[in-house]
């Protein structure tokens, strides 16, 4: 068994164990876990069957198979970061809406309390 194979197997297994542990502790939501699960499985497949990579490189016309690997890896990371930026933007918009709502509710509450304080209670 070659060194790169062991490296690939160890890497993907670490990711899979981490995923499982995070899911178990409710630290990771399923939709993100699925994504990383497929990434880990891909790494595992390439580690176990290196011919897969050389075959793909030949089809794609890439002379050095490792370069194809790096290219695909950076592409995956790019897409993932973009997706995170999108999620972040959505969260910011939601936070903004909540903050506005909280401010409006607080104002209503202040007005109500002031009204009640100025009115004498009925049983007195």
């Amino acid at each position: 068994v070659s060194a790169p194979t062991i490296l690939g197997i160890v890497g993907s297994v670490v990711v899979l164990v981490a995923l499982f542990e995070m899911m178990r502790r409710h630290r990771l939501r399923e939709k993100y876990a699925v994504l990383w699960f497929f990434v880990a499985m891909g790494v595992l497949a390439l580690a176990l069957f290196p011919d897969l990579l050389t075959g793909l490189a030949e089809i794609a016309g890439v002379a050095v198979p490792a370069n194809l690997l790096f290219f695909m890896a950076s592409l995956v990371l790019l897409v993932l970061t973009l997706q995170h930026s999108y999620e972040l933007g959505r969260l910011e918009e939601k936070t903004r809406t909540l903050a506005e709502e909280v401010a409006l509710l607080r104002l209503e509450l202040t007005k109500l309390t002031a009204e009640q304080a100025s009115e004498p209670s009925p049983d007195e």
């Binding site: 918009e93 903004r96 506005e100 401010a103 409006l104 104002l107």
Partner: protein, 269 residues
């Protein structure tokens, strides 16, 4: 941002308006304020003196100073945002309040006192023919307002594009002195951008694309005492770039149909 021109001094009214309160219904003045304790009291007093019939809502945009208590002491309604959202967030909060409490007109006035509330009646007057009226600096009055070349270029670009879109002369779309009727306020309560320059430029574009009529009224701005309105050339260049980006985005952005949202049920009553 501090020390508005002293509110005690008034020359003759600018608009010889016979009617004390135009039959417009209830008017809410929204003042977005972020760390404006120095000028806010004078601004509120000024508005109350010149326009006694309007209600004033100060939206405290996560200030670290005494903005909220100063506003309360001056007799305004105060809405406190839990953290800083920018003018866009503060204004959307204000429009939502206006809508929920059945106001007919929502006015935006800056807290630093650069907008002279004596012009408010002349802006309100134009609501008979428009949904959104902007108090504009370059439309004849207040010629001494000078800007750098690049900033001027940005403003010309914005003015040219939005004038084409609105089919009405709009010379100063970055002005934060504006009056919206119920239709425009309902639109802004749902869609009001939070990004820099988005609050003024993009909201105007949204209004136009939703079919609102947008027009302007010339106003004279007061000189900001401590304000440094990005006058270095680097800042001016940055402003130009931001203006171009904001404008381009506003033009291509897909606003959810830009249709008028269904009116929210009023609270209380």
């Amino acid at each position: 941002m501090s020390g508005a021109a002293d509110p005690g001094v008034y020359s003759a009214p600018v608009t010889p308006d016979a009617e004390p309160t135009p039959p417009l219904g209830r008017v809410l003045v929204i003042i977005p304020a972020w760390n404006e304790q120095a000028s806010l009291a004078a601004t509120i007093a000024d508005i109350r003196l010149t326009n006694p019939a309007v209600d004033i809502l100060v939206v405290d945009d996560g200030s670290a100073d005494r903005t909220a208590s100063v506003a309360e002491a001056a007799g305004a309604l105060v809405c406190r945002l839990p953290f800083n959202l920018g003018v866009g967030g503060a204004m959307r909060t204000g429009y939502r309040y206006a809508l929920r409490h059945g106001y007919d007109v929502a006015v935006q006035i800056d807290a630093d006192g650069q907008h002279d509330p004596r012009y408010l009646p002349s802006l309100l007057d134009r609501l008979d023919e428009a949904d959104l009226v902007i108090g504009a600096r370059f439309a004849g009055e207040g010629e001494r307002y000078r800007v750098s070349f690049l900033r001027g270029l940005a403003m010309k670009l914005l003015a040219w594009t939005l004038t084409r879109m609105a089919r009405n002369r709009l010379t100063d779309v970055t002005s934060g002195f504006r009056v919206a009727n119920r239709r425009a306020a309902a639109l802004f309560a749902a869609h009001y951008p939070a990004e820099y320059l988005g609050d003024t430029v993009e909201s105007t574009v949204i209004a136009i694309r939703a079919g609102c009529t947008v027009t302007q009224v010339p106003v004279e701005m007061r000189v900001r005492q401590a304000g440094q309105a990005s006058q270095t050339s680097l800042r001016a260049a940055l402003y130009l770039a931001r203006a171009v980006v904001a404008l381009a985005l506003a033009l291509v952005r897909d606003w959810p149909d830009a249709e008028l949202p269904a009116e929210e049920p009023r609270e209380g009553s």
